[in-house]
């Protein structure tokens, strides 16, 4: 198992390097630069600023210098926010995304699994149909429709909750709800399908024949293997949710990574965009590894070699 983990970690190095090369090339290929503004700088002053950020060197030299900094854990200075490093920006935004994403994730998994299991156990009864219809709606209505509707209802009409920002626990309610909704719906559907399949399998039939209580049957024996598709979905989903939801953070004006990403791209804040791409791909790679390890816990047939 340790060897498996180590070899997987080693294989991430070329993947990450490739990501860095492609991202670096793409960010620089975009027209316009970080110091462009409607108020143009005198050309000699602009050249001096560019030189101060090392932008006057040939591109390949800049790349070598950037990777050199990365190896020492330095993501570089932000090109937009003077006197601020990319690490500082990420350190400020990461907890916000982690909190909102983490809460949404917990709600998504707990509710999604519960709803999916309930629906599976009541297959083809009215409760199954109601739950699956609602979850279908949850999947198909995008975040950017749900979120403004929630703001309109709870923040503007009823004035129960703040419309935006992150100053009190109350301001977490709407974004977490909006973010967890599609997740609950998706997990519920996955869970229902896989639970139905597991319930039909041989070992469950055997257990049932031996006269086990239905609750024991479901919670002790059927639940674990049914979670496998949910876990595969969760790998990339966790990465996406924890590194910030672009839409939710924009609508609720949360100072998280998603909003940083958008602003970074629009402002041509080269180092900030690069830093976020690296962070995101690292999280994706790590989560995929975690998922593979969790398979082993859920399914005794999985072996690592």
């Amino acid at each position: 198992m340790l060897r498996f983990v180590l070899s997987r970690l080693l294989s991430t190095i070329p993947t990450l390097f490739l990501v860095i090369v492609v991202a670096f090339a793409m960010v620089r290929a975009a027209p316009g630069g970080p110091f462009d503004s409607e108020r143009a700088l005198p050309p000699d002053i602009e050249a001096r600023i560019a030189a101060a950020y090392g932008l006057d060197a040939p591109l390949h030299e800049q790349f070598v210098r950037y990777v050199g900094g990365l190896l020492q854990g330095d993501l570089g200075p932000s090109f937009r926010y003077q006197g601020t490093t990319v690490s500082e920006l990420i350190a400020g935004a990461l907890p916000v995304s982690l909190m909102v994403g983490g809460l949404a994730l917990i709600i998504g998994v707990v509710l999604g699994v519960a709803v999916g299991t309930t629906a599976a156990l009541n297959q083809n009864r009215w409760s199954d149909h109601v739950l699956m219809t609602v979850s279908m709606a949850g999947i198909s209505i995008p975040n950017f429709v749900i979120a403004p509707l929630l703001v309109l209802l709870f923040a503007i009409k009823l004035q129960w909750l703040p419309a935006s920002g992150l100053r009190s626990a109350g301001s977490l309610v709407l974004p977490v709800f909006a973010l967890s909704l599609p997740m609950v719906a998706y997990i519920a559907r996955l869970m229902r399908a896989s639970m139905l399949e597991v319930l039909k399998s041989q070992f469950i039939r055997t257990a049932r024949a031996q006269g086990l209580h239905p609750n024991t049957l479901v919670f002790r024996y059927a639940l674990k293997p049914s979670l496998i598709p949910v876990v595969s979905f969760l790998g990339p989903a966790i990465a996406g949710v924890l590194t910030g939801s672009v839409v939710i953070e924009q609508v609720f004006n949360l100072p998280g990574l998603g909003r940083l990403f958008i602003q970074g791209a629009l402002n041509r804040d080269y180092t900030l965009v690069m830093g976020l791409v690296i962070l995101y791909s690292t999280v994706v790679i790590v989560m995929n590894l975690v998922v593979d390890l969790v398979y082993g816990i859920l399914d005794p047939r999985v072996r690592y070699s």
Binding site: A30, P42, I45, R48, A155, Q159, L161, A163, S164, G170
Partner: protein, 514 residues
């Protein structure tokens, strides 16, 4: 049992929410919207509108602005200009203090101004000090920054030597870039000090040692940053925000019950199209295009938020110091659109073929409708003409415009830093950084130089009018309309005065007493 527990829980959660909104409605806090996070809060390095808005609250220059945007004494209690107009002597108010209680001295201004002109600091607003002696040599790298003509013989005396009479110099002095610079960056000399700052909000609290802060001023000013105008609007509607930084187009068309909070005022800004004069279209066609824009329809119906049709590059409301600037008047402005179209058709009648004309613009709501309207107007007025629209992201358009890489016209806009007509005409100086049309006329440049050095408004007026006329005859640009400042200001905030610079220092605002 279970049901009553559920009801109890719901009631409890609602009660909790009620408390939260009460906290947000704290009357001692002013909640203002900002359209982007400031790139810097260093007065000498910042250049964006959001940054300048916050800086006006936390730093004060020799002169500052009153509630209506007029020039008033700031750190300087008095100033005198020598008879030849080349030497300013400012007297620093002895009561002026940094937020730690130490006095603001003339040396703090010398430090700031030397920092500003130092080419290695890359300060955008360095050009504000171009009329000060020594500036050119320092910028060329021939002299040290100490050669700048600004001296502090005593702690409360600042002497500035100019190379030319610069009639707008006091306007420049009121800019945040010319505010004093403390020895450390955590000191402020404005009515407020920065308490905390991140990418979502900037919190200011009163500067306890500031002399002229009224008793009923807000104790705290919270600038909340909204990149999305709809999000900002939602925050205003839910009561989280007292003043917005802008107003979405959709709301302006139909403000409904927000009508009473809507504040619109003429703004010293202009929207125009630049022709690319590096590969110019036929001058007859340029004039025809200039003539056949139905500016009234554009300003009142297409954008329709109080914008005024613009025929020249200088908006109405500009001033030459104490006197209003009389803009260069054009006969064609008085003609109806039908007569103008007729004249435009005559101009292009003997052109062999009509080229395809392309308008490049940055993607946004307003630009899109304006471009579509222009396309319609031009294709109808000039049969055979094909107008192509090309929209791209803001920075893409900007960098192509800068490089002169656009085939026909590019949508541009400009907002003045302070009230002077030259703010707009300098855009067309040969080789100026903002000169995207590539217009170059030595006569025009000379007129601008002359105007910049003339002290008497009448003479300046004449020189600038001549420059305006020269610019117009070259058809380097198509002015479209002048801008309007737009905010939502909650009724419980009083002291807000509309002004053409759209400057509203928080110290003049207060909560309406019940």
């Amino acid at each position: 049992m279970l049901r009553s527990l559920l009801v109890f829980l719901i009631v409890l959660s609602l009660a909790g929410c009620g408390e939260e909104t009460d906290v947000a409605r704290d009357v001692s806090t002013l909640n203002r919207g900002l359209s982007a996070a400031p790139e810097s809060l260093d007065p000498q390095l910042a250049r964006s509108v959001p940054a300048l808005t916050v800086l006006a609250d936390v730093y004060e220059g020799l002169l500052t602005r009153d509630a209506s945007g007029g020039l008033v004494a700031g750190v300087a209690s008095d100033w005198r200009l020598s008879d030849d107009g080349l030497r300013y002597e400012f007297t620093i108010d002895r009561a002026a203090r940094w937020s730690d209680g130490t006095p603001v001295t003339s040396a703090d201004f010398v430090r700031a101004w030397q920092f500003l002109v130092n080419p290695s600091n890359g300060a955008f607003y360095g050009e504000l000090l171009a009329p000060v002696t020594g500036f050119d040599e320092i910028r060329r790298g021939d002299s040290p920054v100490a050669a700048l003509g600004v001296m502090a013989p005593t702690d409360d005396q600042l002497i500035v030597s100019l190379t030319v009479n610069q009639p707008d110099f006091l306007e420049r002095v009121a800019m945040p870039a010319l505010a004093p610079r403390a020895k450390t960056t955590d000191l402020f000399n404005g009515a407020y000090v920065v308490k905390s700052t991140d990418l979502s909000e900037i919190v200011l609290v009163q500067n306890g040692v500031h002399a002229s802060l009224p008793d009923d001023a807000f104790a705290t000013v919270r600038y909340q940053i909204f990149e999305q105008e709809q999000t900002e609007l939602a925050a205003f509607e839910s009561g989280d925000l007292d003043i917005t930084s802008r107003v979405p187009r959709s709301l302006l068309r139909n403000p409904g019950k927000l009508e009473s909070t809507l504040r619109r005022a003429p703004y010293l800004g202009i929207v125009y199209l630049n022709f690319n004069l590096r590969e110019p279209l036929d001058v007859r066609l340029r004039e025809a295009l200039y003539l056949s824009v139905d500016r009234d329809a554009l300003a009142t119906q297409v954008v329709g938020r109080g914008e005024q049709p613009a025929w020249t590059m200088v908006p109405a409301g500009t001033r030459l110091g104490d006197t209003p600037y009389r803009r260069f008047q054009l006969d064609v402005a008085a003609l109806g659109i039908d007569r103008r179209i007729q004249r435009a058709r005559e101009l292009v009648a003997d052109m062999e073929s009509m080229p395809v004309v392309q308008i490049d613009y940055a993607s946004n709501d307003e630009n899109r409708v304006v471009a579509a309207a222009l396309q319609q107007m031009w294709q109808t007025a000039l049969p055979g003409l094909e107008v192509k629209l090309n929209n791209q992201e803001f920075r893409v358009v900007l960098s192509q415009a800068r490089a002169g890489e656009y085939p026909g016209l590019v949508r541009s806009s400009w907002i003045a830093d302070y009230n002077d007509p030259q703010q707009f005409l300098e855009l067309f100086r040969s080789g100026a950084p903002g000169n995207t049309s590539g217009f170059a006329n030595p006569m025009f440049d000379t007129l601008l130089d002359r105007a910049a050095a003339l002290r008497f408004p009448e003479r300046r007026q004449q020189a600038l009018n001549e420059a305006e006329s020269l610019l117009h005859e070259s058809f380097a640009a198509v002015p479209l309309y002048t801008m309007v400042s737009k905010h939502l200001v909650h009724e419980h905030v009083v002291g807000w005065e509309d002004n053409p610079l759209d400057l509203h220092l928080s110290r003049y605002l207060r909560h309406e007493a019940d």
